[in-house]
């Protein structure tokens, strides 16, 4: 089983994701350079955080045209699991694999601290290790994380339980103060209709060891690995 971690020019969480997968979860992880046109034999893809192309123009706007993205879109189309974290989430929205967009944070400031997330849907291939309404703690670090979609899309997301994580307080309650960027419906992470592409702004790979302050992010990687171990064979693109 192999999970590809894509490196775009300006990615800076690629190594962190790689380490979390390989050293902590014990999965086979490999880097893929953005200029590669094929993913090769892989079972899942992670689009890591960072500042691909410096976040110039709009976060993720330019990376989505990287040669490898065609392969990622095809892979996702065949049901291959794709996880986008932070900048990876932005790239997924820009490339149309996920609906909506990520705007500048409401207060226009970069925001870096631990947040609490409520698991809204524990029945996805990325969240089976959790229970519904578990409260997780992990860092955010972004300047453009305000999730936006039109009303219709939002109600679709709500109705289909495609909102996977919401920003809450430590008790699991919604409040304006704990929404760190002004996201619509306090959305921190969503999944596509087919259930194989998830994007989230917080950084689960930064919450996988005690020394980092939390291990709450582990479940996302272990859910994915568990799914791959029990699930179908690799999708080749």
């Amino acid at each position: 089983m192999t999970i590809a971690v894509v490196t775009f020019p300006g990615s800076n969480c690629d190594y962190d994701c790689y380490k979390a997968l390989k050293d902590v979860v014990g999965a086979e992880a490999e880097f893929r350079w953005h200029r590669t046109e094929s993913l090769g034999d892989v079972d899942a893809v992670v689009l890591p955080g960072g500042f691909s192309y410096g976040d110039y123009l709009r976060a993720g706007a330019i990376a989505r045209f990287s040669p490898i993205m065609e392969a990622v879109v095809a892979f996702a189309g065949k049901g291959g699991p794709v996880l986008g974290i932070c900048n990876g989430f932005q790239i997924l929205c820009e490339s149309g694999l996920l609906p909506g967009a990520l705007l500048r944070n409401e207060k226009l400031l970069f925001s870096s601290h631990d947040v609490h997330l409520r698991v809204e849907n524990a029945d996805t291939i990325f969240t089976r290790a959790y229970r519904r309404h578990d409260v997780l703690r992990m860092p955010i670090a972004h300047g453009e994380g305000q999730y936006y979609a039109d009303a219709e899309t939002l109600s679709l997301l709500e109705g289909d339980e495609r909102i996977v994580f919401r920003y809450v307080d430590s008790e699991g309650e919604l409040s304006h103060e704990t929404n760190p960027n002004g996201s619509a419906h306090a959305i921190a992470g969503i999944i596509n209709e087919a259930g194989n592409v998830m994007g989230m702004m917080p950084h689960p790979e930064r919450a996988v060891e005690e020394i980092l302050g939390s291990t709450d992010g582990l479940g996302i990687f272990s859910s994915l690995v568990e799914h791959l171990r029990s699930g179908p064979a690799a999708v080749t693109v």
């Binding site: 020019p9 500042f51 410096g54 970069f110 601290h113 980092l212």
Partner: protein, 780 residues
């Protein structure tokens, strides 16, 4: 009389300009006049030395080159002799001062490169870009040594936040530092920021970077091997920041607007690519040297690389990739465009170098070669425009030892009798609340919330604790780092200020359980030609030297920023110490906040009756006066050893030192922690000291620790064995409980949540509710 000397006496000057003959004046270049020389910041006697070295009149290009290399910034004219007083050696020092960054051995085949750098002047003009490019520069200093940057710190000083201009500078600087470091993906793990009207016109922006490498990967900035190829790597050269001095006083003309020095704009995206490409290059076998094109750009990088190796260089400016057409050799040599490197490639490997850069979407162009004639020779399309002996250029800068005299005004301020002020301020509770909300004591979360602190998944202690800590993957070790320096102390008593900066830095490191190991420093001072400023500089350096020697923390490098003045008013003399320490076993890591209800709160060290130079005096009386706290370095060292022993023995639950705001504020921050689980406390103080001094005095050498009640006896026993006074102050209270300190007949009694709100809310509310920050007014 000021004493003048040449750094490298006996360096050959005169005559020999190599085989190519003296350069002809270049068409279009101005004539060398005394006026022009003055505009280049060179004194008459310095100019005479240049003529003597060359054996002729310099060309315009050569004049520019000398003026850059012999500037304060590159030549350390007024500080070099003082810097020699600092201890620089220890068995663990691999690379001391003189290279792009210092390097120490941290065991297991690993080395740590680190350095601090100032960007005060650029930040005063354009805070966002000034600070951003400051971070860019310090990152390059570290990765050109072959180390991967792993952490950033920043040390900042501004005027009072009540001024719109100050808020503009503050928010711009913080955003600049954040945007740059975040984009490159280097976590910020700490720093300082202070506000005092003494910095009103002249902010201080110092950035520090730490990098890790295998000791064997160390590479130096040397141009070796005759025939090897010089390559310009990274961003293109534009007219950024060219030699401001020259044009500042030029008569206004048609094209003076076009020629006016441009602000340097940082491009962190290119920096990230350059970082990856450089590390790949260094690990490859294709290059022998690499150096950042920092201050004075191509001039300093090329001549320093030649100077260090004793060889020569020859390069052609028409080969340098430029951003704008029509740039002169003078401009190309002195441009300070960012994100550029000078690389010495092995002859014949140019194509391989180019390929590595191309992978990262960057350019690498051959621009010259290494020679053996000791010359720094510049051509323009094959024609010589400058030919200067490299060693006198890089090492021959005249250095000065000046007269230093303490200012009478300062003496007067220091001798101010503070008793009447103490008498007037009997409401300790309101003083306490005001202090806790003072931007100099309140939480800096507003700042570090804008910095990525967790990228690279190695941050064990983020900003907000005593010192930042990162773990080192693949080992049990950790590295701790901090920056410290108190301008008020140094202003009122420079030598003590220098000592305290070192002592406090070491104390912060020991509080997390790290052994202080080495120092980088940034000397931020006013105009050294003024005797009272030179006095401050010399005294502060002497104090730092004593303390570094005693703590066995050699200085491996640093930076000097002088002339920090506006309209003749100097900033407070501000030596900033950047110190690193090692945790051999990261599981002993200790944090600053209390952990458990019922734990004993114990003070290590003695309370003193010292209120001079305190934040209390500034906040309550608007005064910067009095005698700064005394520091006994031997006692301080004993204290820190005791603390490390206690931590190693596993006795402590927390450790927090007393600094600005004194005992009361240290107790409050230990109780508040990161705000998520603030604990109450109950403390009784029985010292026979005026309660104001007891609560808010900034006496040195004190650490507040907490331990499980059953460990207290053992704690006192061990402290006694180390010759360190220890005594119980009180007990940790309940989550969300009451914070109570009784001192004689006065008391502070507040719900901890309320204190937490004051502590965290102060800077955000100053930044949000007052009229917005406004950009600078420039006459256009």
């Amino acid at each position: 009389m000021d004493r003048v000397g040449r750094e490298a006496d006996g360096i050959a000057g005169g005559g020999g300009t190599g085989s190519t003959g003296a350069p002809e004046p270049r068409a279009g270049d101005p004539e060398i006049t005394p006026e022009l020389v003055r505009e280049h910041g060179l004194s008459e006697s310095e100019y005479e030395q240049i003529e003597e070295i060359l054996g002729r009149t310099p060309t315009f290009t050569e004049l520019g080159v000398f003026s850059a290399m012999w500037s304060e910034h590159c030549g350390y004219k007024n500080s070099k002799r003082l810097l020699r007083l600092l201890p620089t050696e220890a068995p663990w020092v691999i690379q001391g001062p003189g290279e792009n960054a210092g390097v120490i051995d941290i065991g297991e085949g690993l080395a740590l490169a680190f350095k601090i750098e100032s960007h005060n002047h650029p930040s005063a003009v354009e805070p966002y870009q000034g600070a951003a490019t400051g971070v860019g520069g310090i990152l390059r200093d570290v990765f050109t040594m072959g180390a991967r940057p792993v952490a950033i710190l920043n040390s900042l000083r501004f005027g009072d936040l009540t001024s719109g201009r100050v808020r503009y500078l503050f928010s711009g600087v913080v955003k600049g530092i954040g945007d740059y470091g975040n984009c490159v993906g280097i976590p910020n793990i700490g720093g300082e920021v202070y506000f005092d009207r003494g910095y009103e016109g002249n902010p201080i922006v110092n950035a520090m970077c730490l990098g890790l490498m295998k000791a064997e990967d160390l590479i130096r900035g040397e141009a070796e091997g005759v025939g090897n190829t010089l390559m310009a790597v990274g961003a293109r050269t534009g007219r950024d920041g060219i030699h401001g001095a020259t044009f500042a006083s030029e008569e206004l003309s048609e094209d003076s607007e076009a020629k006016r020095p441009q602000v340097q704009v940082g491009d962190p995206f290119t920096e990230k690519l350059l970082l990856e490409a450089s590390l790949e290059l260094i690990r490859s076998d294709h290059i022998v040297g690499i150096q950042d094109m920092g201050a004075a750009g191509l001039t300093s990088s090329a001549s320093e690389m030649a100077g260090r190796s004793g060889s020569g260089v020859e390069l052609d400016t028409s080969e340098v990739p430029v951003r704008e057409a029509g740039m002169t050799p003078y401009e190309i040599l002195l441009s300070e465009s960012q994100e550029r490197m000078l690389v010495v490639a092995k002859k014949g490997r140019e194509e391989e170098v180019r390929k590595i850069l191309a992978k990262w979407e960057l350019e690498a162009e051959p621009i010259g070669r290494v020679t053996d004639d000791g010359s720094f020779r510049i051509l323009e399309a094959g024609k010589v425009v400058a030919d200067v002996p490299a060693l006198p250029l890089t090492e021959g800068c005249p250095t000065y030892e000046r007269e230093g005299v303490e200012s009478e005004t300062t003496k007067g301020l220091r001798e101010t009798d503070l008793a009447p002020y103490v008498k007037r301020d009997r409401d300790v509770e309101s003083a306490f609340l005001e202090l806790l909300g003072s931007p100099n004591i309140a939480s800096r979360r507003w700042v570090y919330d804008q910095y990525d602190t967790t990228v690279r998944t190695q941050t064990a202690i983020r900003p907000g604790g005593s010192a930042g800590v990162i773990r080192i993957r693949g080992t049990n070790k950790g590295v701790a780092a901090t920056t410290d320096g108190n301008g008020r102390y140094t202003f009122l008593h420079p030598r003590r200020g220098g000592m305290i900066a070192v002592a406090e830095a070491a104390r912060n490191l020991t509080c997390v359980g790290a052994l202080p190991t080495a120092v980088t420093n940034n000397l931020n001072f006013g105009n050294p030609l003024k005797p009272e400023i030179y006095f401050q500089l010399r005294e502060a350096v002497l104090g730092m030297a004593d303390a570094c020697r005693l703590f066995e923390t050699p200085v491996t490098g640093g930076n000097v920023s002088l002339y920090n003045e506006t309209e003749g008013d100097a900033i407070y003399p501000t030596p900033v110490i950047g110190m690193v320490g090692i945790l051999e076993d990261i599981s002993t890591l200790t944090r600053h906040h209390f952990r458990n209800e019922g734990d004993a709160i114990v003070l290590l060290g003695e309370n003193t009756e010292e209120l001079g130079a305190s934040e209390w005096l500034y906040v309550r009386h608007g005064l910067v006066a009095g005698e700064p706290p005394a520091v006994d370095l031997l006692e301080e060292r004993r204290l820190q050893h005791a603390l490390l022993a206690l931590i190693e023995a596993g006795l402590l639950r927390s450790a927090q030192d007393c600094s600005e705001g004194g005992l009361a504020c240290a107790l409050a921050t230990a109780a508040i922690g990161d705000g998520d689980s603030a604990l109450g406390l109950h403390v009784e103080l029985h010292d026979r000291i005026d309660p104001v001094a007891l609560l808010f005095g900034e006496g040195q050498g004190r650490i507040i620790v907490s331990c499980a009640p059953e460990e207290e006896t053992e704690l006192h026993r061990m402290a006694r064995n180390h010759g360190v006074p220890s005594r119980k102050l009180g007990t940790v209270g309940a989550p969300g409980g009451i914070f109570t300190i009784r001192a004689g007949n006065v008391a502070i009694r507040q719900p901890i949540e309320q204190l937490a709100d004051a502590y965290f809310g102060s800077i955000p509310s100053l930044m949000e509710t007052v009229e917005p920050a406004t950009p600078p007014r420039l006459s256009q």
